[in-house]
């Protein structure tokens, strides 16, 4: 079971995380909520091993991970399907990738360069990439940001079927998402 223990993180003299401790339930979806600027993205970065914590221990996070970042972090010049192959290698055929993209409403996009997509389309491409990458733990930072209600419904359903059995840690500002999507909700508080 992935466990974070007494994680502390400050930027110069600004304390962002102070003794954060939590057992993330294996194979379940955990929602992280909290005010803007309270340190949700920072916590994910620590858990993903992108920035070191000042102190504390991480147990059980040394598994294949995948992520939807707060910003999409797609390679703008690559086509959508090339962005996906970049992380999956040859595990999926061209038509398999097209099928996945189709499921989130990106039917016409596989061969378009990412720079030509709209914000919401990029978001969906980032989601598909994260779900097709081989992983046991998924980090989703506001994954449905910028999607209209209908699209969000489709994408949410798609994500739900794809993450079955995986440990998911996702950040949201939407309480309804917590209720319908998450198995557990953790609130982060603003420190100063």
């Amino acid at each position: 079971m992935p466990r974070a223990e007494n994680i502390c993180k400050s930027f110069s003299d600004k304390i962002v995380l102070n003794n954060f401790t939590h057992d993330f339930k294996e194979g379940k979806i955990t929602a992280l909520v909290g005010q803007s600027g309270c340190g949700k993205t920072t916590l994910l970065s620590v858990l993903m091993g992108l920035i070191p914590a000042d102190s504390g221990t991480l147990i059980g996070f040394d598994k294949p991970i995948s992520a939807v970042f707060q910003e999409d972090r797609l390679c703008e010049n690559l086509t959508v399907s090339a962005n996906i192959r970049l992380v999956t290698g040859k595990r999926f055929t061209k038509s398999e990738i097209e099928k996945e993209l189709c499921a989130v409403g990106l039917k016409d996009c596989p061969e378009k360069p990412v720079r030509e997509l709209s914000g919401g389309m990029k978001r969906r491409a980032a989601i598909v990439r994260a779900l097709l990458a081989e992983s046991e733990i998924l980090f989703l930072d506001e994954p449905f940001k910028g999607l209209d209600a209908d699209t969000k419904e489709t994408v949410l359903e798609y994500v739900r079927t794809k993450v079955k059995g995986k440990t998911v840690i996702f950040v949201t500002h939407d309480m309804e998402e917590c209720d319908t999507f998450a198995d557990e909700t953790v609130a982060l508080t603003q420190l100063s």
Binding site: L50, S66, A67, E71, N77, L78, N83, L86, G89, P113
Partner: protein
């Protein structure tokens, strides 16, 4: 198609202006007409000497360009990677960018035979241009994509091509377009100063000595056409490569 038509119209306009001006001035020394130039080019094009000069200069100028392209790119990578190298080479690159072709050429003549002069000069002109353009590309690499590659554990080769090359290719493309044009300008200028036997520069120099304005124009036209041809061919190859990278 419509674009090509408009471009042709623009070219035609200036050819007419030129023809009218030549008729008005009416001196084959001060200004020859475009028709005279085409006629002279037609005479030259069937001589072996013409093609030998073209081959002589093209090979050397393009060789200088390629060495400069590689050196500039490699230097930019090292300058991006190691601060010491950046500190040491930055002033050199800045100075090299503003040294006149003539100064380089005269200096180069002290070191090497005039035959290979244009290789050295185009190399010296291309390197700083390519280097500073590629540096701009390397500086603009997104560190967040580096983190992304780390999270997804993308293997080295795929990471290099998909994450880095895909970001750098547009810079490489514009750097090489700029450098090819400058190569021909500086290479020809160097040859006029060094006058290596059997080069385009020698032909340009001779046309000055004998006041053969038609020759001057014909050879200049040849240089312009060659420069365009090299640029288009090279960019075509770069473009194909770029497409390949973008589709993985």
């Amino acid at each position: 198609m419509k674009k090509a038509l408009l471009i042709s119209a623009g070219i035609l306009f200036w050819l007419i202006v030129w023809q009218v001006a030549a008729l008005a001035i009416d001196s084959s020394i001060l200004l020859v007409s475009p028709l005279d130039v085409i006629k002279r080019l037609g005479e030259l094009i069937i001589t072996a000497d013409f093609w030998q000069s073209i081959l002589f200069s093209s090979c050397r100028i393009m060789l200088g360009f390629f060495i400069g392209l590689v050196t500039g790119t490699v230097l930019a990578v090292f300058m991006g990677k190691f601060r010491v190298i950046r500190i040491i080479f930055s002033p050199l690159i800045s100075v090299m960018k503003s040294i006149p072709v003539a100064s380089f050429t005269i200096l180069a003549l002290f070191w090497i035979r005039s035959e290979n002069l244009s290789v050295l000069v185009t190399f010296l002109i291309c390197t700083p241009i390519v280097c500073s353009n590629m540096q701009a590309g390397i500086d603009s690499l997104d560190p967040k994509l580096k983190e992304m590659a780390k999270v997804f554990k993308i293997p080295a080769l795929r990471r290099f091509s998909g994450v880095y090359l895909s970001q750098l290719m547009p810079y490489f493309r514009s750097a090489s377009a700029l450098a090819i044009g400058l190569s021909w300008k500086s290479g020809a200028a160097a040859e006029v100063i060094g006058i290596p036997d059997g080069s385009i520069g020698e032909k340009l120099f001779m046309s000055k000595i004998y006041l053969e304005t038609a020759d001057l124009f014909a050879w200049t036209a040849a240089v312009i056409l060659l420069s365009l041809l090299c640029e288009k061919l090279f960019l075509l190859v770069v473009g194909i490569l770029q497409k390949k990278i973008e589709r993985m």
